[in-house]
């Protein structure tokens, strides 16, 4: 019980701090964007190395002394390229919209997590509000992966249509590297959804138990 109390208190405190910091950062961004009018008009376009290849300026890497007979380096190429893109007109404001939406969603998830922890703190964890909170969090996490795929597609489309490079080639690779099981948003989202369903079932059982006289 003591351990549970410590975990809940620490989580609650950390979430409150994170929400506070995030709110300050978010407000600062809005102020910078609207009031000041000095929003940076330079954006980074990150091209993942598995889809974009360049054979220019490759660093030379060879096996170290004494290791020549053990292994050899066959291929060296960067795992990604960061292009700084500066917009010359005001259209760059459009690019802030997805960032703002993402920030709002992130903020909402933090608030939901905070409410979950608070309900655990008040020993009122099993209620239908928490079930829907868990469902929303699971679905949002799943959707982040969809946004991720979408952004990769948009980056490729932007690169193919609006940028010209003789040094970097878009290979249009569809190879999907196996993601780390526990850091993949799909797995985490599905896990949270399953937990929320288990929660809903537990809640139903609890209600039946409560209504057994």
């Amino acid at each position: 019980m003591r351990f549970k109390g410590t975990v809940i208190r620490t989580s609650s405190w950390l979430l409150d701090v994170l929400i506070g910091l995030y709110a300050i950062g978010f407000l600062a961004m809005i102020v910078m964007l609207i009031v000041n009018g000095n929003a940076p008009n330079e954006f980074s376009l990150i091209l993942p190395g598995k889809n974009y290849l360049s054979w220019i300026a490759q660093p030379e890497v060879v096996a170290g002394p004494g290791m020549e007979g053990v292994f050899g380096v066959t291929d060296v190429h960067p795992i990604g390229y960061r292009l700084g893109i500066e917009f010359k007109d005001n259209r760059f404001y459009i690019l802030y919209i997805p960032t703002l939406i993402y920030a709002l969603i992130y903020f909402y998830v933090m608030i939901l997590l905070g409410r979950l922890v608070r309900s655990a703190k008040n020993d009122d964890f099993f209620n239908y509000k928490n079930v829907s909170r868990l469902r929303i969090i699971g679905l949002i996490i799943l959707s982040t992966q969809v946004f991720n795929w979408l952004s990769t597609f948009i980056k490729g489309w932007f690169f193919d249509n609006y940028l010209v490079s003789t040094d970097i080639t878009h290979t249009k690779s569809i190879a999907i590297a196996l993601p780390n099981l526990f850091s993949s948003p799909v797995v985490i989202g599905l896990l949270i959804l399953i937990i929320s369903e288990a929660f809903a079932h537990g809640l139903k059982l609890k209600q039946e138990q409560d209504l057994t006289i």
Partner: protein, 69 residues
Amino acid sequence: MAIIVNVDVMLAKRKMQSKELAEKVGITLANLSILKTGKAKAIRFSTLEAICEALDCQPGDILEYMPIE
């Protein structure tokens, strides 16, 4: 629900108050109210036994099946 709980009828017949029955059976007034209003999902045999003992009746006097049309 197709099962009707007739505890209030038996209470009236025995001229007993809900509070007294709750005390005799060993349940709270709130739980007795849940039972009387038909919100209860289930009833333990031990509770049924205690109610029958307190009201000097049979389970059939308390519970009735009425099909939903």
